[in-house]
Symmetry: D2
């Protein structure tokens, strides 16, 4: 018996993310959390033994040793997957995405989208041409707090935005971890697998997306000082960037993987003429709102967030903290709704980061590198 | 084809938790998060229409309109459930648990275990007699931070424990919410459905369990001042309690549902002769550790927790916050492992709160009420 | 030329507080901070050499080797002191105060007022009989934040007060520091010099005063579990106390000098039917105000405090933190204004803790000890 | 009788700071706090009536209506002032300083030193030529926490410094406050009275000084985006600046007086190869130290600061917060010690910000403005 799309959980497949990876398991938890999807198939590793063992760990119904085979087989199966999740190193994002889109399967892809702007734009064209759904996992935009800040900004509660300070600081690459063979580090510092940017691509793109997402504005030009602090490393591991927004605001963006003691310190502050908001990912359920008149206010998930957007993705009562997996699941929930809409012949709503955000992220990385190589000249982003 | 227990996800059923409830959905997410179980059957409401609609929301394979029917049917089905989740108001905990245990099905039950001590003990006897697995969802013991604090205490890193201050403060019953017909409030203030305790049963038992769990010690006697602040309410909505531990420590426990502005403010501080720890559930990834010599240290999930217990249930890298659903899932993961062990004929490990904790919680509630009614006399807990 | 009282700084003398003491210097800074007084004379130690050296450190105009001599000499000097500061161990508070009051000199005295209730009451009678001004340095009531909380409570902004949780935790006596001969520890654990209470007298009285001061209510009865954790110590070093207020509220008071890792952790939380406030002395410029409807608000010194009382004692613009010395100075400023009023023949305003607060503090200590010795019976405070 | 310099408090005079000013009273409190000085004379306003009334408020022995008269009179008086405090708007710093230095009187001056670099350098030459002592009140360098961070950096505990992020955010000029006639705002936005920089001069110089002071390194070049957000304002009210240090580190400096909701939010983070430190002026008694291996540590004033420098200026026991006035007093204490040394014919130690820091601050402001006007080109600072 074949259930209608609305009577059953969606079937998802995953490429990458086998044993030793970290993000694959997070994708699985996030995809399944809201009861919309089940991960049933995977090409979890390019190493067949590892792929097989990893699939057994997850009790997958179907395991493949190549993504190409998976795309072909699932596309023609009676109960094949409804969408694929790409959780590989960066250099595989585009080829894997291409294979599944060409096979007619929707895609959820990790970021950054591609190795460079050209590759990103090419994939962008393909996605549009084939009309498949495409989500890019800028996870942080799934936090209720981030949705609330965006709602405040767009509703004009902050007034005209003057300043944005966004930063994403880590320390895990402060030593040459790649020299030890650590898998996560090795590919991230390798231009062939990581692409144009090091820290810029890995976390700078998150900061860039967050700044634009929260403000609803566009970073029009940047002036960057990009560094590689760890000797011998080929890609950047740090960048200080001045920002100018299309709407007239200015600000700074800092991303670094060499800031001793920082775990995953993504923060944003947005200052407008009527109010400001501050948020820190490591304590994600509080937004500090500072109105122009009066005292600072602690807005809290499930308690004092007012937007429908934040409310819709709050899963537990106030005071029960929600975290990273839930934020991730928010993207999957919105994407799953679009997959169902598409199956019913309805128009997608695309209320999750998508292919354009992916292209834009690469344009940011390219602009930062160009600016820095020109002595921190101001460089426009299209 | 019937898969072996280790080749498939466990099948779970759920009683209660339909539309309008909040905790049912949390149980489902928690049970499924780690990929160990799928919720496939439910008796989600005593109202058949609501039960059916709720089951469709969750896309359950099988929906029942009574728990008794569900117990019978699932016990005899070829691919019946491996365990049941009880997410009903308190007065149903024991009858539902009895029905499933007698049908030979393992049980995960919400707290407090029962309406009173006698009922709790009776169920305890049944559980032991039938040899079925039983988990009680004292969720907070599933946080990595709580496991780390317990590990520190048990390893002697805190020295001899002198003081414990634990509190659980909420405000959601600070007005007579029950008078509005709000469902969650209505049954919680009704002795027939809530049992012996109001705030004491609903959240005092969590605080009591946490204090004993973290210290590895036993609260031997208490001296309580129990109150009902909202006029007309039949059960307590607040209690201040002095504690004496078997190991010689003292302390305080406060639980309240009338503390204006508090969401779900569960905190514990444990002071020993060698060090102290502090933790707050609303920011659950940090433990403040204060050694007798030297500066305070921020221990963090995934970063500076050292115990195997905390490490085993950390799902994402440091700096990506984990929350309440993940803590809940920790209990389900441990329980699922026991269900598999039982299926394989192995001995269970029971490393999750169980039937004894449930009995003990009711004993605490009874002792607090007895103490208060005797002018705050010291009352022993067995 | 003798300046009129309003044209000159007041002249203060000090008893105690020489080299090796800590609180004497704080009294001097606090007395002088607002430009109202200058400390010009002292009997800084009972050891003449130390008294003399200490006076030279402070560049005092007049140094005495006995307080009795000082009282006599200053009372008859043309430009004698306007008031004396008593910064000795507890057992000298009453005899020194008596000497100066009998000599006609106003008194500022450290707390606790006396060794026991009888002595406190006797001094109380003397003070009233002689009509001299008397301030007791419950320093914490001088913080703008504390004045603001009190103003909120008294204005009814918190509604009817239901719960008060106050605590004062330190760790400096967690080991038998007195055995090392450390001066501050030695007298504080000696009943002959410290009086009835150990931690209860030293810091419990502060917590007790703060709870009554902030709420504007009276603690009517208490139920206490008083302990001495460090073996061989004669006085308490810890107490857990249940509170009942005259106005119907309940709560807890905890004071301890054996809580590992705590510096000087005085906190208070007051929950009413309309709002709650929280404050922590170690970060004294923020009050967290939680209204019954809406989000938590961070009230801040100089920024969002609204009361005239807080505003009057805010010395620097918002964001420039004020601390303990400033809080202390607030008491001295109010006292100095009364000294000037008295000199001009006006009625004093007595808007600082005074003799009655001192008596009341001893009554609290006595009640706590009585309660604990009666198995934590409820004991009334007059 | 004339007391020797070590037997008496130093006599200080003050120019500026009368009624309506805020910083004058802070200078007085800070100068007197440690018992080293007394403010006895003043030219508190250019308005004679206000000068006189203000002097009466402070009960000064001598009041002048012009600083020039004051310099002459005090220089020749038998018990004239030992040093003068300059607490005027910026344009008077240099003329007043010149008058007193030429009269042979040491100077404590508020920042920024001068209207521009040329004026600053000229005063620098004069100070050196006359051999008088000169302190510039970069107050924040007087906090124990700042001294501790500097000690850690200089001792190599942070390793090689890679990143410095310093910021100073306020909101008090986010609207055209100057249009209301508010005195503090009016002169600060007027180039004739404020000088080259607006926010850059007023608070950017503090941030610049702090970054160099804490690291013990020199900011070698900067790349700035300087803005005036409030229409019609002639001076900058905001700047985002990229930093390069002589030692190889990079970073950002942000100063703004238009950041809605910020009081006086000066923060610094310094990341080295061995550890990092973070500090925030609004909660000034905690330094977060993050070593390369292990957990974050909360270093606290009076508790876990290890440097002699921090210890020497800690006035109260741990847990009693020290604030802005105390930090300010730290500079005065060091300066007073030098005044005594000079009087005894000893060499000064100059362990407080001085004339060179003042020149350097103006050079920073000039460089920021030059960079910004050149399209954010990198500009060196001498």
């Amino acid at each position: 018996m074949t259930l209608q799309i609305d009577q059953r959980r969606l079937r998802a497949g995953i490429v990458g993310g086998g044993r030793g990876a970290f993000i694959g398991a997070v994708h699985r938890m996030a995809a399944e959390l809201d009861g919309e999807s089940l991960v049933v198939a995977g090409a979890l590793s390019s190493d067949p033994a590892k792929a097989s063992a990893s699939a057994a760990d997850w009790r997958l119904a179907r395991s493949y040793s190549s993504y190409a085979e998976m795309a072909r087989a699932e596309a023609s199966a009676a109960e094949g997957i409804d969408y694929v999740i790409i959780a590989t190193p960066n250099h595989l994002h585009v080829p894997v995405a291409r294979a599944f889109i060409e096979a007619g399967i929707h895609v959820v892809c990790d970021k950054p989208l591609a190795l460079n702007v050209a590759e990103a734009r090419e994939l962008g064209s393909l996605v549009k041409a084939r009309g498949k759904l495409f989500a890019l996992t800028h996870t942080y935009s799934g936090y209720p707090a981030v949705l609330e800040m965006r709602a405040l900004a767009i509703a004009g509660e902050l007034g005209e935005i003057r300043k944005v300070h966004v930063e994403y600081l880590q320390d895990w690459l402060m030593s040459p971890l790649e020299a030890t063979g650590q898998k996560q580090a090795s590919w991230r510092v390798d231009p062939a697998r990581s692409g144009l940017g090091g820290a810029l691509g890995d976390i700078g793109t998150h900061a860039h997306h967050l700044a634009e997402f929260v403000t609803g504005d566009r970073i029009a030009s940047i002036c960057a000082d990009v560094r590689t602090f760890v000797a011998g490393r080929k890609l950047d591991d740090d960048a200080n960037v001045l920002l100018r927004f299309a709407g007239g605001g200015t600000g700074t963006l800092v991303c670094s993987q060499v800031c001793c003691g920082e775990e995953n310190d993504l923060r944003i502050r947005v200052y407008g003429t009527k109010g400001s908001v501050q948020w820190r990912q490591q304590e994600p359920n509080t937004v500090l709102f500072k109105p122009a008149a009066g005292a600072s206010v602690e807005l809290r998930t499930g308690r004092s967030f007012k937007s429908a957007q934040a409310g819709a993705v709050t899963r537990v009562p106030a005071g029960h903290p929600e975290g990273y997996i839930e934020a991730f699941a928010t993207l999957y929930r919105a994407f799953a709704a679009d997959v169902r809409r598409a199956a019913r012949g309805e128009s997608p709503q695309r209320d999750y980061p998508g292919i354009n955000d992916g292209v834009r992220g690469l344009e940011f990385v390219a602009a930062a590198i160009a600016s820095s190589s020109q002595g921190s000249a101001w460089v426009s982003i299209p």
